[in-house]
């Protein structure tokens, strides 16, 4: 009789553990998805900013055509990107392009004094850092999810529930990006 009770106890504990682990996996996966949509929101905000920014800079530095084209092209490519890795690469191109655009603007004192430009610049810096923060949050959650999926013994539950490891959102430059203007 005692043996039956012990076995029953073990089964209950195992079941509880399985439910707990499964729920943890689900909530982590939701956090990852939520983190990704946060990145997406910020990236979209940046897409919206770019045409305005280019228009404003054009008003003072029309001949810097090459820079404008690079940024516009990168934007178009990023908007069509699919998948985390592809997106990350396209966004890197935008960040680099915007960095050059701001560097160009630095050469035009009248532009730097333009209220509209200053507001756009603050918006851009703000959005850049929000992208960085959203990426940081996303990658943290991905790391936690992937660890749980790969670790023993939670990997059993992950396998049963078809949980897949998620890719990191990686960028190839210092964390804050080159467009870090001190305002």
């Amino acid at each position: 009789m005692t043996v039956v009770w012990i076995l029953l106890g073990v089964v209950v504990v195992l079941l509880l553990w399985a439910v707990f682990t499964y729920n943890r996996l689900v909530s982590l996966r939701n956090r990852v998805d939520n983190g990704w949509s946060q990145i997406d929101v910020q990236l979209r905000r940046r897409y919206d900013l770019i045409p305005n920014l280019i228009e404003t800079v054009k008003g003072y530095a029309a001949h810097e055509r090459e820079v404008f084209e690079k940024v516009t092209e990168a934007r178009t490519r990023a908007m069509g990107a699919t998948g985390v890795q592809d997106q990350a690469q396209a966004e890197n191109a935008i960040t680099t392009g915007l960095g050059r655009l701001i560097a160009v603007a630095e050469n035009y004192p009248e532009l730097k004094a333009n209220q509209n430009f200053l507001a756009l610049q603050e918006e851009l810096v703000g959005t850049e850092s929000k992208i960085a923060y959203a990426r940081q949050f996303y990658n943290d959650q991905v790391a936690r999810l992937n660890t749980l999926i790969q670790k023993f013994p939670s990997n059993f539950i992950a396998g049963l529930g078809h949980f897949e490891p998620k890719p990191f959102f990686e960028i190839d430059e210092p964390v804050r990006g080159p467009v870090r203007v001190d305002l």
């Binding site: 983190g35 603050e122 703000g126 929000k130």
Partner: protein, 303 residues
Amino acid sequence: MYEQIASNKRKTIFLLFVSFLLLAAVGYAIGLIYGTGWVGLGIAVAVALLLQVGSYFSGDKLVLASARARAVTVEEEPRLHNIVEGLAIAAGVPKPAVYVVPEQAPNAFATGRDPEHSSVAVTQGLLETMNRVELEGVLGHEMSHVVDRDILYSTIVATLIGAIVLISEFFLRSWWWGGIGGRRSDRGNGNGGGLELILFAIGFAFLILAPFFGQLIRLAVSRNREYLADAQGAMLTRYPPGLISALKKIAEAPHAMRSANNATAHLWFDQPSRIQGPRTGKMERLFSTHPPIEERIRRLEEM
């Protein structure tokens, strides 16, 4: 971090209970002096319950109002709003409401009941003296208080201690100016008990000491929480030098603030009205709500 949140919840409940008892004791002491005993206790318990429930739901508004904080729009303060939103994203919590306090001393605080109902406030002086990275450092610290739910605890303590200070001061002053004490001695003559005189003395002494006990509870909003919030804030921004340089600027700036009072001192980023420097006495250190800035800087530099 999650363990921290759980332990904060336990401490919150415990300290709420202690401050509840303190307020009840204040009520009982007043009852003793009036000669009504348990009635005072009853009233105080009712007041304490009301205050705790009240401050759970609207303590943040009370704190913000007492600091004379004003909600600012995105258009008014785009930089501040951008930073707060970014940090909220990094911490994975909704964006808190953003307030500005019309004070020149650089300082900030966070309040609210949980991350879904939270506010951060910064002084005008902070906005004017800090650059972007430094502001991010300070707000990262405040955001950690939001994430760890330090804010609920601090807010409720602020309201309760406020009530204790108010009640005992009100009583002591009205006694001092004659009104109440006279009536009591009339009644005292009838029973003529030495016991009543002793009770009177105990109650009286307790009322004088109550604000001091309140102070001790407030200190249990331990300075450790400030270190922890510094460390966590630096983890959020991934840039400790920002917070370090903000702390250095604050150490050099004037501290006196009109709108910070005894009950809300522990809420702020830096202790308001600090007497600073090497002359900082032992007693002041003992009763500070915040660790010394130099120590906070040193710990951050070690990270």
